[in-house]
């Protein structure tokens, strides 16, 4: 894990460019895929929250998968869904407490954020840098004991 995905809702303008970028990046055979990132207003005025998979440590989706299709990718740090192994039982969709495992109705697949295999397209396209893919810098400041 060399990079960290940072979401800063304070900078989000709700332009939904990330949604488009995600959808086009995950296109299958020329058909747009289901977006994995959702900019929602959360009921607040002038405030948008890009809701995206939090890649939890003790993830409910991984626990709920009875065929071990969901595994953590040690390179990117994301929880990857292996489409070949997935049996589409919808357990992860129902179990995720943040609603970030979603169904792609068009392609009849269950999808979730995989950080684009280590280079998230949404972070590239975000015009206000509310989404960032930052390298983790080695800790320089000494921590007081």
């Amino acid at each position: 894990m060399k990079n960290r995905f940072i979401v800063n809702p304070d900078l989000c303008t709700g332009c939904r460019t990330c949604e488009l970028a995600c959808s086009f990046t995950h296109a299958i055979e020329g058909l747009r895929g289901q977006t994995r990132i959702y900019p929602l207003d959360g009921g607040f005025k002038d405030l948008w929250i890009p809701v995206v998979c939090l890649q939890c440590d003790d993830a409910a989706c991984v626990k709920s998968c009875l065929v071990d299709a969901l595994r953590r990718n040690s390179e990117t740090g994301a929880i990857d869904l292996n489409q070949e192994v997935c049996v589409k039982c919808m357990a992860c969709v129902a179990a995720c407490p943040f609603g970030c495992s979603v169904v792609d109705q068009q392609h009849k697949l269950v999808v979730k954020c995989d950080l684009c295999g280590g280079d998230p397209a949404c972070a590239h396209f975000c015009p206000t840098k509310a989404l960032k893919w930052n390298p983790i810098e080695p800790q320089t400041r000494k921590v007081a004991v």
Binding site: P9, D10, L66, V87, C89, A91, A94, G99
Partner: protein, 258 residues
């Protein structure tokens, strides 16, 4: 790692890995109806047949189902040799005779140029190709609710004693992965019916959307220690909830900054 040749291209594979996985990884289109990565190979549909040979075989070759044959060093594989295509054509021809009304089979047969079967058609045939994928997936999920029963002409996929299966949780994995969409289910008015068993569907407390069955959710809670509250709200309402929580925190920050 072993080196083998597929359609003239040298590729690397793990020792003992089945040929079909290697072929699929190389993005070569080989049809297979009974194959699924989640379960062990079965070799029921025979459509993934390929031609194999070796340098030392002096031109002799063999025809094997690639979903069961392990990759080994020096193997020469041809996935679309004329003889292989002929074999596949015969197999789809037989499938078409047995399941003349199955849309998936008709489509596959048309790909191989078979528009009407040369064999005698089974008139009252159903669309089940008896590949056993549903039963294998059910076993892999840990339910063992269905299995193949009977032999020969009477063989079919069924729950025990043709009654509503006590171990079924209504996860729909069998129906979702059936290559010919034969397994029927219906969801209406908050209830799901599959294998003649009726299940209560969980309803989102926010928007009323129906999610998975209550029995399946309870099974996951018990087996995988997931809190039952997670299943009471649908994915969309979960996202809204997360946005509301994050929004509240961000608005505090804004107030503190102003």
């Amino acid at each position: 790692m072993v080196n083998l040749t597929i359609n003239g291209k040298v590729v690397q594979a793990e020792e003992g890995e089945v040929l079909l996985s290697v072929i699929r990884r190389e993005k070569i289109d080989v049809p297979a109806l009974c194959h699924h990565e989640a379960v062990e190979a079965f070799g029921a549909c025979r459509l993934c047949v390929v031609e194999i040979t070796r340098q030392e075989w002096d031109g002799w070759c063999d025809y094997v189902t690639s979903c069961l044959y392990p990759a080994s060093d020096g193997l020469i594989v041809n996935t679309h040799a004329a003889k292989v295509n002929d074999l596949r054509k015969t197999i789809v021809d037989l499938f078409l005779a047995r399941h003349p009304k199955c849309p998936e089979i008709i489509e596959l047969a048309a790909e191989y140029g078979v528009y009407s079967t040369t064999y005698q058609t089974v008139v009252d045939g159903d669309n089940c190709i008896l590949c056993g994928l549903c039963t294998r997936i059910c076993d892999r999920m840990g339910f063992h609710a269905i299995s193949t029963v009977g032999r020969g002409h009477g063989k079919e996929v069924s729950p025990p004693l043709h009654k509503a299966p006590p171990d079924c949780t209504g996860c729909l994995a069998c129906a979702q992965n059936c290559p010919t969409s034969f397994i029927e289910y219906s969801a209406a008015k908050g209830f799901l019916t599959i294998w003649d068993k009726k299940f209560e569907l969980l309803k989102c407390s926010g928007c009323g959307k129906e999610t998975i069955t209550k029995v399946f959710a309870e099974h996951l809670c018990q087996e995988r220690k997931i809190p039952f509250e997670y299943f009471q709200i649908c994915d969309e309402c979960h996202r809204k909830q997360l946005a509301a929580t994050m929004g509240e925190i961000t608005s505090w920050d804004r107030e503190a900054a102003s």
